[in-house]
Assembly symmetry: C2
Homo-oligomer: 474 residues x 2
């Protein structure tokens, strides 16, 4: 039965564009954090939208479930198939052409399999910026970024992935191809379908190409690391800076002392830039300007000196060179790897309204201390978006003593999600739902909202063929 | 039958919240341009979402069609009911509470019936900016702005209405109330439903409240009127300025000499600010800065002097005072009224990719000259968004000789829409579809896209009860 499907798909796509050997498939059947695994009859590599359409049509007629995969960098089990069922992986990796880069129109049209870093480079080559930037940019694909509405460090200025999209091409589960690729900034002619597919995580169809917005490439950047005694002071200062530099502030990251020390402890040649004691809370701020020269650095420095003088900030390190700037960002970018070396970190991708971050942090720390005294709160996040990666860090020794690890993790997570929910927040700010958070969708989302989502899912995919078990319960 | 419905709605909403007298209803049964008229049994004024739900439930059970109405400022016949059928107008006018203004969170939650200018003022009162700005702002309501994804003069910096929305409350045709009001900047938990309702023009449900984004209030503004010999030079300069001031450029309007002269001819105390001959094309540019003082004006002046020196611009008027700035904008804002006095202007709200504006203008002028030699091309538009209000102006004398005016207008419009379509443009950039452009939806939109829209319409409103005949053919 499996061999029949493989043969049929090879007839559609060509012999070499369908792989079925267990060893070749293995890296695609497990996520990069090694927490989610699945099974598939084969991996199909279509070359263009029409082939995607043919694959979906065949699978629909034959009761085969389709799991689209880009760079397989999901942290929510969104990019690997389920363990049961007759599954294939639909890889977009060979649809990786940059169709057009139009600097004059500040747009580019690209296929879903393009690696994010390649798109950043293509924009840079014509003196433009494609602002989406995140840890996995060297291997994640734009199709996955679109499917999950990826976030990252530039959201505070340029928005999430959906805000960077002018048009989409989508293949629907029934094989229809919607060509919605366009470069218009304004087009009020009917329902805006692109936003329905962006962030739907491959459950409504397959995004095969997109037209994206480009922006002027900044000609100068100013970066500083600020220290604070309290999270309240850090957040208030961040909000002030957003008000002072609304068009120029491109990064605003919050880092707790615990996270900072872990990153430096496990970092290659990373050193603490503070001359005095490491502050309790840090904010990494970055401004970008279309003007070359030091003006932006001078203006940031002037503002920070004044804020320091009035006692709002307890320590300030302004990057004095590109190397210095790079070193400050390395402390931030090293956290995922460093946390892995430090111990067992249970990570949460929550968001609350920005001004409620201090309230969340206080309540979360109190709850952890009461119920999980062995946990150390470790915090890093995109403060300007109200998005915290909140990690309950345990030593490897402690973690080894936990008998039922899934239950332990589930209960702890829901303690934190409950607090986020009380503050009108969310349990998934930028990572999406995948297979991991399906239960939370039922628990925390408005009932009417979930029911509307189910109706839309049934409208496009009555057979539950596309990425079943992800986003919404089957 | 009609009396029974009126009585039933009065029982739900209270005697005084349902009006049925022809004289009271009259202003709501004709659009402000006096081109679209309709009939209704009554106008219902719910006070809150639960009453909207009750009205929709009653109407659905009794085969009554519901036409939501805000400020009745649609230019596409989107805000008045149909001529036939058992109709009611659902007015949001009495749901006009500003629920919360949260300066610290840069957000405000408001009911659908709030007048746009009141929301701008509420933001300003807490030192914030709500950037949506358009001609009808003194009477249009935010619910209508949301339903139509309204544009305006600030889109080049802040986006369309949909880009200003954090959350929505929507009553569905079956009476369910979706409370999607939230203030989060990031929330990747399932399909993004708000974008489906924004711009759906009341055909999928009734938007009853919204949470909107606020921005820092600018502390200084710089405004200039630039003159060019050709549209090509004007557009190239506009694109250059967008690249130079990406975070600060908040207005970029194109005006043809014909439009400029009409505005001044019919304006109260408007005078031509150019000392030399009026240029063939003009661009009104405005920058806004969070810093007080003259720095932004100095930087704009410096750039414009350099551009003038290199011959890119043939004349420059920089606003020297707030009064001067106001006078320049009055020339722009006076065009609708002035065009009405000048003659019969057939207006089109097209968009093309910005860099193709000169191509559109050349092709359109050539086509008009060949087929409509009595027409004068009159152009004003939001150049930064590629959005032109392209007017074929005829003298009243000529217009009186046109026998079949609707056919004449239809044919002329499709000449222009065809040209926009050839350039990957649209026949409706910011005004929406309403009753006016339903035919163009079939002619110019992708078939798959229209079919998906129909499926979504049927999903939410199988009975075609909500705003029937608008957006999609019945």
């Amino acid at each position: 039965m499996s061999q029949k499907a493989v043969s049929a798909l090879r007839a559609l796509l060509g012999e070499t564009h369908v792989i079925a050997s267990p060893s070749d498939m293995a890296p695609h059947l497990i996520d990069w954090r090694k927490r989610h695994t699945g099974t598939a009859m084969c991996i199909a590599y279509p070359q263009h939208a029409q082939q995607v359409s043919q694959v979906l049509t065949y699978c629909r007629a034959n009761g085969i479930r389709v799991f689209p995969q880009g760079g397989n960098t999901s942290v929510c089990g969104g990019s690997v198939p389920a363990m049961d069922g007759r599954n294939i992986i639909l890889s977009l990796a060979k649809m990786n052409r940059i169709v057009e880069v139009n600097a004059g129109n500040n747009s580019m049209t690209v296929e879903a399999g393009c690696v994010l870093a390649d798109l950043q480079q293509a924009a840079s080559d014509v003196d433009r910026l494609f602002p989406l930037s995140l840890g996995a940019e060297g291997s994640c694909q734009i199709g996955g970024n679109l499917a999950t509405n990826a976030g990252g460090t530039n959201v505070v200025r340029f928005g999430n992935t959906r805000d960077l999209v002018l048009g989409l091409e989508v293949v629907l589960p029934d094989g229809r191809v919607w060509n919605g690729l366009r470069t218009l900034r304004k087009n009020n002619s009917g329902y805006d379908l692109k936003h329905l597919f962006i962030g739907s995580e491959g459950t409504l169809g397959v995004i095969t190409a997109a037209t994206l917005k480009l922006f002027p490439k900044p000609k100068s950047v100013a970066t500083a690391l600020l220290g604070f005694d309290t999270a309240q002071a850090a957040v208030e200062q961040g909000i002030r800076l957003q008000g002072m530099f609304p068009g120029e502030l491109v990064g605003l990251e919050l880092i707790s002392r615990s996270e900072f020390e872990i990153s430096i402890r496990h970092g290659h040649h990373l050193r603490n830039p503070f001359e005095q004691a490491t502050p309790a809370w840090m904010v990494l701020v970055e401004l970008a300007s279309p003007e070359a020269g030091t003006a932006i650095n001078d203006r940031l420095t002037e503002v920070l000196e004044a804020e320091f003088e009035r006692g709002a900030i307890v320590d300030v390190v302004v990057a004095a060179s590109e190397q210095h700037r790079h070193d400050l960002w390395r402390i931030r970018h090293n956290v995922t790897e460093a946390n892995g070396r430090e111990g067992m970190g249970l990570t949460h991708d929550i968001a609350v309204p920005t001004y409620l971050i201090p309230t969340f942090l206080t309540r979360a720390a109190t709850a952890l201390e009461a119920r999980y005294p062995d946990a150390t709160p470790v915090v890093v996040g995109h403060m300007g978006d109200g998005n915290l990666h909140y990690i309950a860090m345990f030593s490897h020794e402690f973690w080894a003593t936990v008998v039922d690890k899934p239950s332990f993790q589930h209960e702890l997570s829901h303690v934190l999600y409950d607090i986020a929910a009380e503050l009108d927040g969310t349990f998934s700010a930028e990572h999406g739902i995948g297979a991991l958070h399906v239960e939370e969708m039922s628990k925390y989302k408005d009932d009417v909202e979930v029911e509307i989502m189910r109706q839309i899912k049934r409208l496009f995919d009555l057979d539950d063929m596309m990425n079943p078990g992800r986003v919404l319960p089957s």
